[in-house]
Amino acid sequence: MKKYIFIIIAIFFTIVSCDDYLVQEDPNKIESEFYFKDESSLEIYTNGFIRSFAPAINTFINGDNYADTRSWEGQDAYLTDEYSANDATGWSTSNWYQLRSVNYYLDNMRKANASSEILDHYEGVGRFFRAMFYFDKLRTFGAVPWYETLIDMDDKEALFKDKDSREFIASKILEDLNYASTHCLTSAKYRVKSSYIHRYVALALKARFCLYEGTYRKYHSVDPSTNEAWTTNESEMYLGECISSCEEIMSSGIYSLTDDPSKRQTQYRDMFTDADGAGNYGNEFIWARDYDIDNLITYAINDQFVNAQHANRAYTRQFINTYLMRDGTPFTSKYNNYNSLDFTTECQDRDYRLTQTIRTPGFVRDNGTTYWAPDVTYARTGYQPIKYLTDKSELDTHVSAIATDVPLMRYAEILLAYAEAKAELGEMTEEVWSKTIKPLRERAGIISVYPTEADPYMVAYFQNKVTDPYILEVRRERGIELTMEDDYRYDDIMRWDQGELFARYGMGLWISGVETPLDLNNDGTPETIVTTNSSLISPLKILLIDEASEAGNKLSNGTYGNILPNTAIEHTWRDYKYVRPIPITAIQENSNLTQNPGWGIQ
């Protein structure tokens, strides 16, 4: 008997209830259906959007690498005729994941228990990011399929539908931005360190989008997604929406340009090299990305400006020529021979932003102890950018930790958008000018002159397609003020229907003759030499001119003239490139998708 008692006891120990035993919950995760509870769950979810949507510094400064203002180092595959739908990107699952995450949020966020004001605010934040997502898709592909709820895996109709029209997408973006810019709150707590989304960020994006779409509809005679004329005439509507958005920001009393008349030689660049820009420039930064050494949220950025392998980006002379003299007159009007001026002369008395955007004679770092001449061995036009470069050269390696903050949306952009929309609508006035372009120029040390006639250099720059002096001056100002910020310039060229500029060859410094040592930093000692002698050994920085080599550097007149780097590179513009091809894989997955015109039926 005892035996059986033991056995029963033993069995007792090993028996558990099946049903309960086989249920285990994840101790560290929340089951999705119970996630949305309160305001904080909304904040945490939207933090995820900011994290995935806000561009990082390295993306930000490289957006315009192949725009007209830069000289190319290497071929942009897109600007060759070999580029096809096989090479296209931007349609992967991870791209669309962002939309999935937003739509899931918008489908479910109202489960949270919060006041309607708060719920509306957070819906606005979600819709802001959906607008941001589709704005990007619109710029890239034109027409794309629109989804405003989570797609069910069994919803074949949605999954396999064709694109919605570009005009429809644009109207939906506007709808989302209207919602966000009405319902997002303006409380100061959302503006701390310029990092959250609030009504003014939404208005700023709306202004940017409406300016884009308004000018795009104006300058493009056809919708590049269909190659057919627009079905609606909404250009003026969008420009009007842009103006009203800007006006709301401008009249808010919160934002202003940073301008201390005593610091005009440095204050522009200071904004981009300040370790606490997000905090210190809250008047000008509407939205910013905050970096911080203590929290180890850092990046290496100086190497992008000083390292021979990472820093091969340089401006074209054509662009540098647009910087005004400080007396408010065009540089190209002051000098007839504006392309053949030597570097030192060229840099004199110009817009103070020039010396804060590129290395000019006298450019010093390390608290003024070292002169930094343009390094023509890699920044080969000689116009070497410095906009985000910090003062300390000890932080120049590709693993250095730098934590200057990055403005993602500046008040300056709002002023420029306002001025541009006004100009495009023919509503530019001296009053508008004095609220917008004038303070920007004054901040750069320029005496503002209200234009009376078109600057022929600017007319020519934009292929004689625009003759309105206001529009051209706004474009000049916009190009200079916002250079190297995201892909503004690239987008500008696209919306202005100026794609040919991408194929325009960029030239560099004027070299009066080879084999003459040059003192580009004006420190009294030559540090650079341009030579045709490939076996030259010299402590100077050598730019080799090789007429024989297809890929070699050239001078425009053989042994003297403007530097012509990368002559082997040929970029071609085709009008169908205003929209990128739908990647071939996307069409393989969904044969109902129609390819954009010009990219072939794949």
């Binding site: 033993a10 101790p27 999705s32 994941y97 180890l296 930790a401 080599s549 890929a551």
Partner: protein, 1232 residues
């Protein structure tokens, strides 16, 4: 037949016999040890040993009582016999018990069953006999102490005699302690020290049985002989071997499943930190590979090839029946390792055993006088390959220039620095030349006007020599005590393993402490309780690069430039020292420290419900594993300019991170074993029971920045920001009921049915449960009468087959619910702080249930020539179905990967052969036994169903990261296949280029093809070399050029013993394996990868004929193309020619490796005794001593087993591993 039949003869004091037997067995054991070294256990399994020890102890016990009895009942003593209705035979037996007298009678003449009635108290023998026999007409005579009933004395005397003789082994050496018993009785004796014996009172027609452990039992009919000398043969192991199977053991001859067992002798004398290392290559079908020799390196144990491409999963590892980590066990504690390979053998583990089961059985107590054993060893470890490098600064720079100019074709001026690590100017070059001619000059100089540096370096530093020792040491000490009696027993062991690191700086170390105590208590004769506790403490410390988990080998490769010294003239570290990691190693402030604690406790109860028929066993286990990791990183200060301090790495910062991983696992089993005693021909066993398991796994990580004092890694002594503590982990539970039925008829026909009904918490309610049955059968056809002709050559031949299906529930625990995680951002600040964030939850599968593995296995086991030659072969297919992979291809707009489901299918086909020859011959009058065992096996897996609508081969990046294997699956794909371009050779001249397809590669910066570059073949005749759409149907010029999975694994074990000496050799290898050196694999591509890499593969100098040069125009003989660079530097796109696998640089990574050689010697027992020891054995052994591989022709910097990367660190680049080590060991084993 004869008159004396079934007679009971006793002429010997049983107590004496028992005593002698115990003594002699102990002696023999030692003798065997001496003779066969530590491999004594080869010849008898644990079970057998235990059985003998049990008998011995039983006899010992009886003898104690009997001795007492003998004193009391001497001849002439009084006998008490009180009985009524007792049979005569019982009455006689009682008298025998009380006296020294023994009865001899003929059963046919006396009715033993007749009842007697007697009532005598303290009577003399005469009175008793008279009372008992006289009235019944039975005559009796007494001769000495023999009482003969109903027979003449002479007849009896003629029948009984004394036999003597000598027992030797086959070589003629005397065998002491051999047991000699008259068959059918307990009458017997044992041989003395010189093998002699004498046994009195042996009937003429008796058969003497000579038995000795490890020897074949001999039976000899006495007949007329008075002297019987016997020569005993060593018994071949195998056929009688008992193997451990799920929930029981079984004789190997009765097996119908594919089971292979490795016993402790294979594991002994191989000092390794991890048991898995000792098992490598030992069992056919058991694939164990280590990426390198890091002592803390773990591996997944794989049985019979690829498992699941969905949920994954590996073999189930059970330690004494309870799931456990193979690295948690002390290899010296292991008695046997049993590998269950097919469905038949592992179905009893149901859902856990889909991909095979490894059963590890620990050593059990040995009853008797406590035995104390010590084993210790010291090993010298040395790397198998030492990267060949250029250490001459000038040569190195010249290479750099050549490669750089090769790539830029002279169109670009040289940089003024090399990867920001050292400056380079023309002046420095001239100085280098000057210093080469005049070595007395300083190797460093001040330079002015350089954009980055204040000093020019002209050293010839060998960074490898600075960083790595030539050899390092490890040592191991193991002590065990074992003993016990009939009621309780115990086994206690302890081990210390200490490994000294490979680095000259940084104090790498690995220490391990193991303790085990195992004991049992017989609470009642039918009830035994066993407790098995083990404890392991593993402490490993490795120095680290100061940049977030950066791979040290890679850092050394990228920054270890020979030009640079370690220090600048002002005493600060140079850039090279800082970035290579050397400075940080020296300072010892960046490291990873792991402390792992494994605690395992198992309590089990064995209850005999009906002795030997029905048994109940239950156990409960609690395993606790605690792993604590500390990651320290502190930036190292260095200088490029005097007085300007830089940090490596400033961006990574100073940081302390601590992570705790906690696993609590509980399991309980309860089962019945029923083995009714049927008859001689029918055998039946049934096992049935149930099992429950539960595991909770928790992780907690915390980190903080900036130290106040780097010597004390404590959060309390830091002043930087803390990241929020993060918790992770999961919990799962399983339960299942299992059964196994075995039936055999005459040992000829064997049938087995087994299965399990399993439930898992990982599946939704409607699919939690699964039933996994298997059936198998065996036919021992050698036992058929029509096979009698083969008796002389063939001992055994069995064909067996099995089929079964098992489940794989290895999906991650919460796959069927959509969950969201809240994390703290590490790349963005909001409102000045690191924000919490989340995103959409995971998608949930439409349905989710067990993956299934259906296995078909046919096997053949044969033994020949007295089992000297044995053979085992298996051929199998495993069909893995319902694999948990993506269900359908959905358009990207869906926004996430399609929900997974039970979709994909795969077939794995394979075979295994194992053949063994075991023999003993005489050499110089001494026996020489030797054995040869060869195994070879192969497997191949093919995808038969997979959702890949477009037939894409994946992404270029994924494909190149996978070593050339597509980064997704497609139907018809063989796992491991490498796709690549075919190379025709090098371009001869411009004509050759003009007449070939367009090669649009960046072999130089301008994409222009030039003579001396690699020429790809335009297989699809499209006029251009391209990958097409990179799809199965359109793959352009790509084709399958090889397979990266190892094929034709083999192992060869040779061992021999002679006169105390033992020699064994273990050879292991892989017959076929292709390998394409991955992108950025600097040890292969050298400067073709990046211009500043330190090494050039297999080329000793710039003028080597193996490199193409325009002057030599050796396009037809050179292996390496025209000098260029950036050809394999981590881009992984279709542009860099060598990143795309191709036939020219595909390497043959097959290898044959002498995995282990061991020579041991056991000292003569007399010598041992004279110094108070029982046994002393010494050995020397070497691991990985010799390797033969075609790989070394072009990739001499790679070990064929170390092609991968160090998974502990970030950079996943081929070859950046911890080195593979060879080692030389001296060891000692002592039994006290």
């Amino acid at each position: 037949m004869k008159k004396i039949k079934e007679g009971r003869v006793r002429g010997f004091s049983l107590s004496h016999l028992a005593y002698r037997q115990v003594l002699s067995i102990i002696k023999h054991y030692k003798f065997m040890k001496k003779k066969y070294g530590n491999r004594v256990l080869t010849y008898y399994t644990l079970k057998k040993t235990l059985k003998i020890i049990r008998i011995v102890l039983f006899l010992l016990l009886i003898s104690v009582f009997h001795t007492i009895a003998s004193v009391r009942y001497l001849q002439g003593a009084k006998i008490t016999l009180k009985c009524e209705g007792l049979s005569l035979v019982d009455a006689l037996s009682r008298i025998e018990d009380q006296s020294e007298y023994r009865f001899i009678y003929d059963k046919s003449q006396i009715n033993l069953d007749q009842k007697v009635k007697i009532n005598l108290d303290g009577a003399t023998l005469g009175k008793v006999l008279k009372e008992l026999f006289v009235n019944k007409g039975i005559n009796y005579h007494m001769i000495h102490n023999q009482i003969i009933l109903n027979g003449s004395v002479s007849e009896v005397l003629q029948q009984i005699k004394t036999i003597s003789g000598k027992v030797c082994d086959s070589s003629g050496s005397p065998l002491p302690g051999v047991t000699i018993v008259v068959n059918g009785t307990t009458h017997g004796t044992v041989t003395d020290v010189v093998g002699n014996y004498t046994l009195a009172n042996v009937p003429r027609d008796a058969t003497l049985v000579f038995a000795f452990i490890g020897m074949k039992t001999e039976s000899i009919l006495v007949g007329n002989k008075t002297t019987i000398d016997v020569s005993m043969m060593v018994e071949a192991v195998g056929i009688g071997e008992v193997v451990t199977i799920g929930y029981g053991t079984m004789k190997k001859s009765d097996l119908v499943g594919a089971v292979d067992q490795v016993n402790s002798e294979v594991l002994a004398n191989r000092p390794t930190p991890n048991l898995a290392r000792s098992l490598q290559g030992e069992v056919a079908g058991l694939n164990i590979s280590f990426t390198d020799s890091k002592p803390s390196r773990s591996t997944s144990i794989n049985i019979r090839g690829a498992n699941s491409i969905g949920a994954g999963g590996s073999a189930l590892i059970l330690i004494d029946g309870v799931e456990g980590d193979i690295s948690s066990i002390n290899p010296q504690d292991v008695e046997s390792v049993s590998v269950l390979k097919d469905a038949s053998s592992s179905a009893i583990y149901g859902a856990r055993g889909a991909f095979g089961v490894v059963l590890i059985t620990t050593k059990s107590p040995q009853k008797g006088t406590p035995i104390v054993k010590y084993s210790g060893s010291v090993s010298f470890n040395k790397r198998t390959v030492r990267p060949d490098m250029i250490t001459d600064g000038l040569d190195w720079v010249d290479w750099w220039i050549e490669c750089y100019n090769g790539y830029y074709t002279g169109s670009r001026s040289l940089l003024d620095h090399l990867d920001s690590t050292v400056p380079y100017t023309e002046e420095i070059h001239q100085e280098l030349v000057r210093r080469k001619n005049d070595p007395s000059l300083t190797k460093i100089m001040k330079i002015d006007g350089h954009s980055q540096f204040d000093w020019g370096y002209m050293e010839n530093t060998n960074w490898y020599d600075l960083m790595y020792k030539n050899y390092n040491l490890s040592h191991e000490h193991n002590i065990s005590i074992s003993g016990g009696d009939d009621v309780s027993d115990y086994y206690i062991s302890g081990r210390f393993y200490d490994y000294d690191g490979i680095y000259k700086v940084g104090n790498e170390s690995y220490k391990r402490y193991d303790l085990r105590s195992k004991g049992s208590l017989k609470v009642r004769p039918w009830f035994k309780i066993t407790s098995n506790t083990s404890f392991s403490n593993v402490h490993s410390y490795q120095p680290k690069h100061p940049r977030n988990n950066f791979n040290t080998q890679r850092a050394l490769m990228h920054a270890g430039m020979p030009l640079s010294p370690i220090k600048n003239p002002d005493g600060t570290w140079t850039t090279a020292a800082a970035i290579s990691g050397y400075a940080s190693f020296s300072e010892g402030t960046s490291y990873r420290d792991n402390k792992n604690l494994y605690l395992r406790q198992k309590i089990s109860a064995d209850i005999d419900i009906i002795k030997d028929v029905l048994k109940f066993q239950a156990d409960y286990s609690y395993n606790y594993t605690s792993k604590k990791r500390i990651d320290m990183q502190v930036p190292v200060e260095f200088e490029k300019r005097a007085g300007v301090t830089l940090y490596e790495s400033a961006s990574a910062g100073a940081k302390l991170g601590k992570i705790d991983y906690d696993t609590r696992y509980q399991a309980s089993n309860a089962y019945f074993t029923y083995s009714p005693k049927l008859d001689e021909v029918n055998n039946f066993t049934a096992v049935a029971g149930w099992n429950v398991e539960k595991q909770e796994y928790k992780t907690l990580s915390v980190s903080r920045a900036d130290f106040i004092t780097v010597n004390k890694p404590s959060f309390s002594l830091m002043n930087g920001v803390s990241t929020d503590p993060m918790e992770g982990g999961n919990a799962w539970s399983y339960m299942g009921g299992f059964y196994r039925l075995n039936y055999s008829y005459m040992g000829k026909y064997l049938v087995e049915l087994s299965g399990r009904y399993d439930g898992s918490s990982k599946f939704p309610t409607n699919s939690k449960w699964g039933f996994f049955p298997s059936a198998s059968a065996g036919w021992n056809f050698s036992k058929e009468s029509w096979m009698s002709w083969s008796k002389n050559v063939m001992d055994n031949a069995k064909i067996r087959g099995s089929i079964g299906s098992m489940g794989n529930g290895n999906v991650s625990p919460y796959s069927y619910t959509s969950n969201m995680t809240v994390s703290t951002a590490n790349n963005i600040l909001l409102g000045g702080i690191l924000p919490s964030y989340t995103a959409i939850g995971t998608t949930t599968p439409a349905s989710l249930t067990w993956e299934k593995a259906t296995t078909y296995d046919i096997g053949l086991d044969m033994g020949f020539l007295g089992n000297k030659l044995s053979f085992t072969g298996d051929i199998y297919r495993r069909a893995t179905t319902d694999m948990y992979t993506a269900s359908v291809s959905l358009p990207s707009v869906y926004g996430t990967s399609p929900p997974k489901g039970n979709n994909a299918e795969m077939n794995t086909d394979g075979w295994e052969l194992s053949i063994q020859w075991k023999h003993q011959v005489n050499l110089g009058g001494k026996p020489l036994s030797y054995s040869v065992k060869a195994t070879v096996w192969n497997d191949d897996s093919k995808i038969t169903k997979f959702a890949n609508k477009t037939g894409t081969l994946g992404t270029a990046y994924g494909y190149m990261s996978n070593g050339g294997s597509p980064s997704t699956y497609y139907e018809g794909m063989h796992l491991g296949e490498i796709w690549g371009y075919e190379v025709a050779g090098l371009f001869k001249d411009q004509d050759d280029i003009d007449n070939s397809a367009n090669q649009h590669f960046k072999q130089s910066h301008d994409y222009v093809t030039r003579p001396g570059q690699v020429k790809f073949v335009d297989l699809d005749k499209s006029g251009v070399i391209d990958p097409g759409k990179f799809e199965v149907e359109d793959h352009g010029d790509l084709k399958i050029i090889g397979n990266q999975n190892p094929k034709y694994h083999f192992g060869l074990n040779l061992s021999s013993e002679w006169n105390g000496f033992g020699l064994s050799v273990f050879v292991q290898g892989v017959g076929k394996k292709d390998w394409y050196p991955g992108s950025d694999a600097g040890y292969f591509w050298g400067k073709y990868g990046r211009p500043y890499f330190s090494f050039i593969p297999s080329i000793q100098n710039l003028s080597s004929d193996d490199v193409y040069s325009a002057e030599k125009n050796n396009w037809d003989t050179a292996y390496w193309p025209a000098l260029t660079t950036y050809q394999s530097s981590g881009n992984k796109n279709w542009v860099k020619a060598y990143e795309i696998p191709n036939t020219r640089y595909l390497q043959n990574a097959m290898f044959v490796r002498i995995k282990n050689i061991r020579l041991d010697y056991s000292f003569n027992k007399n010598i041992c005794n004279s110094i108070g020891l029982q046994d002393v054995n010494i050995y020397i052994s070497g691991d990985n001593l010799f390797t033969f591989t075609p790989l070394h022709k072009h990739a001499p910097n790679f070990d064929p087993e170390g092609l991968s990367y160090d998974a502990d660190f970030d950079s996943q680049v081929d070859g950046y591993t911890y080195p593979t080590l060879k080692n030389y060991t001296v060891g000692l084993n002592i039994t006290f």
